[in-house]
């Protein structure tokens, strides 16, 4: 993958998604290929089954939020977006325009701006599902409100930016489980058939016992926004959220969490401790690092080397490698023996003309929504909040190890009272220093 451009990607997904909505309606939901595996693996579906109409509200109408909303309606028949909440009116307008252009208008009276817009949206009785796609700093509060209002939840990763938020997610996940509220998260690799099949191979011993891993998300610089006249501190930070630690959690959470999540999944556990490096050389705005390198120690001598970078003109690539006593895998589709010979490969479905392809028919961004709708309509309960909270916390542990230069243990980070961001979230000036973290202590001269 050369460069991730969210907006471009969403454009493609939207087109693909709309096509799928039609296709899924034709299949009428009878195309469920496999049931959930005993190991708790998600089902691989061709479309969500038919059932009661599900109305969804979108919280966070930016690029990913609008994209997720489109993914949702593409997942199967009788799925609608009927309301939107966002801090900014212009984001709501853009989202509504987009849906209107599909002939699926969202009524203006169901759209709410401001920091408490999500509460008004979730108070709407007829909403069954909410899609949470704001910057992750706000996710724990949104998730709690959603479960309190008994809405099924799709929420984007990462699910929080600090341990305080993670503990909130963990508790809310248990509240959701108690009352049967389904929760699917945006760690889409877990819903990809190729990953799932590779996981099954590894779980049944294809590479022997796991001895180490590598996870990497190295890419060019990501989007940023320069401050425009008339924007107050809070508005500027939220419009440029992807560059502020307190809003995004830094890119080790925002993007690299996908790879970290895969390694945790294949290892079957989370790491016990982390030591890490990181720094900032090329970033233009905000206070984040632009590279991290973290050693996640899983105990028993097993480590995963995690690296992520957002700098132009460097060796780039994203993915995971898991090495065992008898072979290794890229987790996605291929297994090699220790001599580098391919011993297993996932077979991608041929296209309509019967030509071989190297992609899945249904994008994983849509597959995860099919899973949610399937769970709601068939009663096969799903709740991915805890596993994604633990993967997010793993990333937070790595981040704090890099920021401080210290060894950070799982127990330290799980119990930490670190809470990022200003005490009061409101528009206006914000009295905060935004200096990138510096590890360790200065040399005494």
């Amino acid at each position: 993958m050369k460069k991730i451009d969210r907006r471009k990607f969403i454009g493609n997904a939207a087109v693909a998604g709309l096509g799928l909505a039609g296709a899924a309606a034709l299949i009428e939901g009878c195309g469920r290929k496999k049931t959930a595996e005993p190991a708790g693996l998600p089902p691989v579906l061709r479309g969500a089954p038919k059932g009661r109409k599900l109305k969804a509200g979108l919280v966070g109408a930016g690029g990913r939020g609008t994209g997720a909303a489109i993914n949702f309606i593409s997942a199967g028949p009788d799925l609608e977006i009927i309301g939107v909440a966002d801090v900014f009116q212009d984001k709501i307008d853009a989202c509504r325009e987009r849906f209107a252009s599909f002939g699926l208008p969202i009524p203006a009276e169901n759209c709410f701006t401001g920091f408490d817009g999500y509460k008004k949206l979730m108070a709407i009785e007829e909403i069954d599902v909410v899609i949470l796609a704001t910057p992750p700093r706000f996710r724990p509060d949104h998730f709690l409100e959603a479960v309190t209002q008994k809405k099924h939840v799709f929420m984007e990763k990462p699910v929080a930016v600090d341990p305080t938020g993670i503990r909130s997610i963990l508790a809310t996940a248990k509240k959701a489980e108690a009352i049967g509220i389904n929760v699917v998260t945006g760690t889409q690799r877990r819903h990809q058939e190729d990953y799932i099949e590779t996981y099954k191979q590894v779980a049944s011993g294809a590479i022997g016992r796991i001895t180490s891993a590598k996870a990497y998300w190295n890419q060019d610089h990501v989007w940023f926004r320069l401050r425009e006249p008339g924007w107050n501190d809070m508005e500027y930070m939220i419009r440029n959220w992807n560059n502020f630690i307190w809003l995004s959690g830094d890119h080790i959470l925002d993007t690299h969490v996908h790879n970290i999540d895969v390694v945790n999944w294949f290892m079957g556990k989370h790491p016990e401790r982390a030591i890490g490096y990181g720094g900032r050389h090329r970033r233009v705005t905000g206070d984040q690092y632009d590279f991290f390198s973290v050693d996640f120690d899983y105990g028993s001598g097993i480590s995963s080397h995690s690296m992520c970078r957002q700098i132009d003109g460097c060796a780039n690539g994203t993915g995971e490698i898991v090495v065992g006593t008898e072979g290794y895998t890229n987790c996605q589709n291929t297994i090699w023996d220790l001599d580098g010979k391919i011993i297993w490969k996932f077979e991608y479905p041929p296209d309509e003309n019967g030509n071989p392809t190297n992609s899945l028919r249904i994008p994983s961004y849509v597959q995860e929504h099919m899973h949610l709708v399937w769970a709601i309509r068939t009663g096969n309960y799903v709740n991915e909040a805890e596993q994604t909270a633990y993967s997010t916390l793993t990333a937070i542990m790595g981040r704090e190890a890099a920021y401080t230069g210290r060894l950070v243990t799982w127990d330290d980070i799980l119990k930490s009272d670190l809470k990022l961001g200003p005490e009061k979230i409101e528009m206006g000036p914000v009295d905060m220093k935004f200096e990138p973290p510096v590890p360790g202590l200065p040399v005494q001269v």
């Binding site: 309190t148 008994k150 341990p163 909130s168 508790a171 809310t172 248990k174 509240k175 009352i179």
Partner: protein, 511 residues
């Protein structure tokens, strides 16, 4: 022929059949009767026919297991016996026999009902499985943030606390058992007649009354002459523990020590002046370079347990908090206040005596432990006038006026509340000590020494040589904050401290 044989066999069997049928009917009747008896003896009415001790029924009716919006009433046996099918009959028999024995051989008025409320005792007759039998959803949607954090800790912990560690007052209402952050604690103070502007001026090494400037709070300091004493207990001292030896000669420089344990009045003066909102801020004080002292956060629950403050010893503060208190007091008074070393503590406690107590008596006669003491009452003569301990304390602290002082004029060295020392605890500290002049204990360790025993202690543990130590993890079990407080113990109600003041050399030469 064949028929006759059969019929004669049948004839022979008939009585057997009658006996068999009769047996079944008897058994059935017996079972029905037994079931009736079991359910009758499990009614609230039956329980309360014996449990007439003060407030058992009233506090139950006031508690949330009776007085709640749902109208559901939780009955005695639903908490005080294991659930049906999970040890119900066994626990019923066990408690039944114990109660029967008490009913026949004990006088209800002599039983220390107050002590049954203490968590360590309540655990013996409130069943965790019974809590969980009804409370099956630990994460109701309405659960608060603090509750969520606490229940998360409960589910994630490999060695979780009991439900009643936090929810002690739910069965029997008690106003002082708040399980919440008490932001109003110690904030308001009553008008003080005198406000000291200056600390006490001390010219000579003798007893003096310290005054805390800016407050009306004062306290007596007793001058303890330097000298040499035999620290620890000899091998032949009754009921001693191995960590009290070997006995060795220790020399000490002169010091002042508080006449009484630091009172709530004294501690609250510190709390009001230094209390801080965030723990991060509080942690900064561990650095010696900081000159402004930042002190405790609002406590969790009621630190005084609802027993009253004033001259009662302050309790539930952490060792760290006690240490910061001494630094604050030093800043306020310009003197050198600190926690006593373990050697100073024992030297001051003994006041020149080398006997098990600083008064006459035999630990074996005073102790309530052992089989015979259950039948014959322990001797309380003498000890009860000097020490607030298990037998005479009503399970709570006492104001210092209730006891006689030791030979140096110091009160409550033994009993009332156990006291922090500055030393790290080590079982083998005495054997390892090669200094023997003003020893300060091991250079590193996990837990600190506490001495003197408390209102909860047996006579054995209030001996002058008896040693104990802090138990940080256990004492913070139910603190729902993450990380846990560095200022308040959530699960320790019988430890406080007393201060020592170091005289400077000029004062000593003026003597």
């Amino acid at each position: 022929m064949r028929n006759r044989l059969i019929s004669s066999r049948l004839n022979k069997r008939r009585p057997l059949r009658w006996i068999f049928t009769g047996g079944i009917i008897t058994c059935a009747l017996f079972l029905i009767a037994a079931k009736k008896v079991i359910s009758w003896t499990s009614t609230d009415k039956y329980c309360m026919s014996c449990h007439i001790h003060p407030h058992a029924e009233q506090t139950w009716r006031l508690g949330t297991h009776y007085n709640n919006s749902s109208g559901v009433v939780t009955h005695c046996v639903e908490c005080h016996l294991a659930p049906k099918g999970k040890g119900y009959l066994y626990t019923k028999a066990k408690h039944g026999l114990k109660d029967l024995y008490g009913y026949l051989f004990k006088d209800s008025a002599d039983i220390n009902w107050e002590s049954k409320k203490l968590i360590e005792n309540a655990k013996k007759f409130v069943y965790e499985e019974s809590c969980l039998e009804c409370h099956q959803n630990l994460f109701p949607v309405t659960l608060s943030k603090e509750g969520s954090d606490a229940h998360l800790f409960y589910t994630l912990s490999s060695d979780p606390p009991r439900c009643i560690n936090c929810h002690l007052g739910v069965g029997h209402f008690d106003r002082s058992l708040i399980h919440a952050r008490d932001t109003s604690f110690g904030v308001t103070k009553s008008a003080e007649a005198v406000v000291f502007t200056e600390p006490a001026k001390v010219e000579k090494f003798e007893n003096f009354t310290e005054k805390i400037p800016g407050t009306g709070v004062s306290f007596r300091m007793i001058a303890v002459e330097g000298g040499t004493f035999r620290m620890g207990s000899p091998d032949n001292e009754p009921l001693r523990e191995p960590d009290e030896g070997p006995v060795r000669e220790v020399s000490l420089s002169p010091f002042w020590i508080g006449e009484v344990e630091v009172t709530w009045d004294e501690y609250l003066a510190f709390f009001r002046e230094t209390s801080s909102q965030g723990r991060t801020e509080g942690q900064v004080v561990t650095s010696r370079k900081v000159d402004a002292v930042s002190g405790p956060t609002p406590p969790w629950g009621a630190p005084d347990q609802g027993w009253g403050k004033g001259s009662r010893p302050a309790i539930t503060m952490t060792w760290h908090a006690a240490n910061v208190y001494c630094r604050w007091l030093s800043m306020k008074t310009g003197k050198k206040y600190r926690l006593p070393t373990e050697a100073e503590w024992e030297y001051a406690c003994r006041g020149g005596t080398q006997t098990p107590y600083f008064f006459e008596g035999d630990p074996k006669k005073f102790t309530s432990e052992g089989f015979f003491k259950k039948i014959f009452r322990p001797d309380t003569s003498n000890i009860a006038s000097y020490v607030v301990y298990k037998v005479n304390s009503s399970s709570r602290t006492a104001p210092p006026g209730q006891v006689k002082p030791n030979p140096l004029g110091i009160k409550n060295m033994s009993g009332n509340v156990a006291e922090f020392c500055s030393d790290y605890y080590s079982e083998s500290a005495y054997a390892a000590d090669s200094v023997r002049v003003d020893p300060r204990g091991p250079s590193e360790g996990q837990e600190r020494v506490i001495r003197g025993g408390s209102f909860k202690s047996d006579a054995r543990d209030v001996r002058s040589a008896a040693r104990d130590h802090t138990k940080t993890k256990a004492w913070l079990t139910t603190d729902p904050q993450m990380p846990k407080s560095i200022w308040w113990y959530s699960d320790c109600i019988d430890v406080g401290f007393r201060v020592v003041c170091e005289p400077d050399s000029q004062i000593l030469t003026k003597k």
